[in-house]
Amino acid sequence: MKGLGRMGAVVAKEFKHLGRDPRMLAAVILLPIMQLLLFAYALSFDVDQVPTVVIDMDKTQTSQQYAGRYEQSVFFNVVRHGETMDDADVSFQRGVARVAVIIPAGFEHQIKSGAQAEVAVLVDGSEPNSARVGQLYSVALNQLFSAELTREWAERQGLDLSAVSGMEPRVRTWYNPNRRSSDFLIPGLMVVILAIVTIQQTAVTLVRERTLGTQEQLEVSPMRQVELMLGKIIPWALLAFVDVVVIIAIGVFGMGVPLRGSIPMLALGATLFILSSLGFGLAISAVAPTEDTANIGALMLAFLPSFLLSGFVFPLGQMPEVVQWISYVFPARYMMSLSRGVFLKGAGFAELWPELAALAVTSFILIAIATVLYARKVRQ
């Protein structure tokens, strides 16, 4: 009971600090929203309107018909028409285009004569994402075009192609049928922001107690370490929850991200995840001598793992095995799949209990390590 009172005093004090420092409050509330907008729009992985230069050296009806397909496609944006190969070089160097389509002279002649016609598609590999997409779409476009040519040829020959059976895959994407990256990113961004706000602020404000000298006054009080820690993390966890609610609201109502699962499930996961953040924050504050070091430490342990080792942006399955093993240490990956499971798949306890268990175990281990590190620090 007395412990609760002391913890409450710390919580109230932390809110007073926040109230006295409006810049801090603004940073904690506004930064996540800015990040959200940045990720949702600027860092979108949806690629369309790839700037394209078309170099038609054939200048025939067929070549123009082929080039027209690029003009009509939403994936390509034909920004220039060129005459020679040099135009491709110049366009790439100036960054005007990322894809160059080169139709060689004799294109029509080869098609008419029934020979295999060749088209060169150059992609600017310095931007791998649009290069990959540009490549895939141009291949698809070529297939369509040649299928059309085949059909025209068959019709001229009086053949009925519908009699020819073929195999064709029908691909459907589940959970995120339009494969919109915002559906994928926003549930993940929630995890990143939870990690940053809670880990960074707990670590920094704990180190601040030391640099201010107030830590010593706290030590001579009957307050237990755990009361101080909880008192420190509660205000930031509350603020992180505010951030999460804002992010979800913008995502769901503003960007149409589906929220198919239950909110209590998400809240349970987030609570466990915040406990693990407490462990990180504590561990950092136990070893960091200054607030600056704590900031950098938080960046290393909060931002990087939740960003890179969680599957937020880069699929973990594509990483080297060692990196994958490292990622198991960080709770962010479990929270990431939990968050996406709830948002996109509507998954519940039956599907997500392994993630919940992993979160609980990593949190427990982290807090244990941090407590040991912290205890060593006191009275030295």
Partner: protein, 348 residues
């Protein structure tokens, strides 16, 4: 560091300044009846602490009587802070132990903490919180009830002259007010023993006098005060003193006992050029030590001979005008400079 000391030398030496009002009742609100003025508040036994190769406190044994104002004197780096922090239970000793009101600081620090108020050398309050908020926060984590926080806070702010600054942010306080805020905060949970680590360092002379006025009031109210200070003149305001140097106690006792250890008589020699006069008389038979101080020379005379003709002759020879010699009561400044010169072996 030496600036406030020089500034205060003008006339604040001597016991608690009679010109300042001493209000023995001003800390009656501290509630807890004064502990009987017998027995020991602190018993230090062979306390030792090193930091790497440096011996900060090298085996200190010390007794602080209940209701004493115990001055822990010594230069920077003498080990005062380390000793106080071990008593405050924020630092573990390597060897030895100390008991605060009979409770060990090493084996039972939790039982020691409620009875002590510790004021560290650094300003250690939240700069963005107000005076009142700082006092209330530290009181509430010390388990002081809301009602007590209000009544004690009001009374402390009043008696320290901080009432009108209650709402001011701690970072906007002057140096003296910051120290008073720290003291007021350590008094909120009504400790019986105050451990004050250089509370007047870097504080202007007027604020120093006021701070000592408050300490005198606390003494009247029955509190035990252990105060570390580098200022020798503050020793005169203590009931007991110990001189710490290089982690060892060199001298301990009441100010009168310490003064009695200085042999001979202290003379004040008025001379035209005090520095030249000091050089002229140093080493004369009977002169134990000579130091220029202001327009005078402080001479420690240890001889049965009349000092006046001897000194006059020496000055005449050096061509320095002399206008009189008079005997004065030894002050702590002189006592410690003599003890420091005679070295540890003389103190043993």
């Amino acid at each position: 560091m030496s600036e406030p000391a020089t500034g205060a030398r003008g006339g604040t030496t001597g016991p608690v300044d009679p010109a300042l009002p001493v209000i023995p009742d001003s800390f009656r609100h501290l509630g807890r009846s004064p502990v009987p003025a017998t027995g020991l508040a602190v018993q230090v036994r062979g306390l030792r602490r090193t930091f790497g190769e440096t011996v900060a406190v090298g085996g200190v044994t010390l007794d602080v009587p209940i209701a004493a104002v115990f001055g822990l004197l010594g230069p920077d780096g003498a080990g005062k802070s380390t000793l106080i922090r071990m008593l405050a239970t924020t630092l573990l000793p390597d060897e030895g132990d100390a008991e605060v009101f009979g409770v060990s600081v090493t084996s039972n620090p939790k039982a020691v903490r409620p009875r002590i108020g510790y004021m560290s050398q650094r300003f250690s309050m939240y700069p963005d919180l107000s005076v009142r908020e700082n006092m209330d926060f530290f009181a509430s984590i010390r388990g002081v009830s809301k009602a007590d926080r209000r009544t004690r806070g009001d009374a402390l702010l009043e008696s320290m002259g901080l009432a009108e600054f209650a709402g001011r942010q701690a970072m906007r306080l002057s140096g003296g007010m910051k120290q008073k805020l720290m003291l007021a905060t350590t008094l909120m949970h009504e400790p019986d023993l105050l451990l004050l680590d250089e509370p007047t360092t870097g504080v202007d002379p007027v604020s120093r006098r006021e701070f000592w006025r408050i300490l005198a009031d606390l003494h009247e109210a029955g509190k035990t005060v252990l105060v570390a200070t580098p200022y020798m003149d503050e020793a005169e305001r203590c009931t007991d003193i110990a001189f710490l140097d290089s982690g060892m106690i060199r001298e301990a006792g009441t100010p009168a006992e310490i003064k009695a250890k200085v042999p001979g008589r202290l003379l004040e020699l008025r001379a035209g050029d005090p520095r030249a006069a000091t050089r002229a008389i140093a080493g004369l038979p009977g002169v134990l030590s000579a130091h220029p101080l202001g327009d005078n020379v402080r001479v420690l005379w240890d001889s049965s001979a009349d000092p006046e003709p001897v000194l006059a002759a020496a000055l005449l020879e050096a061509g320095i005008a002399e206008s009189g010699v008079r005997e004065i009561a030894p002050d702590m400044e002189t006592v410690f400079s003599h003890l420091a010169e005679s070295g540890p072996e003389a103190a043993a």
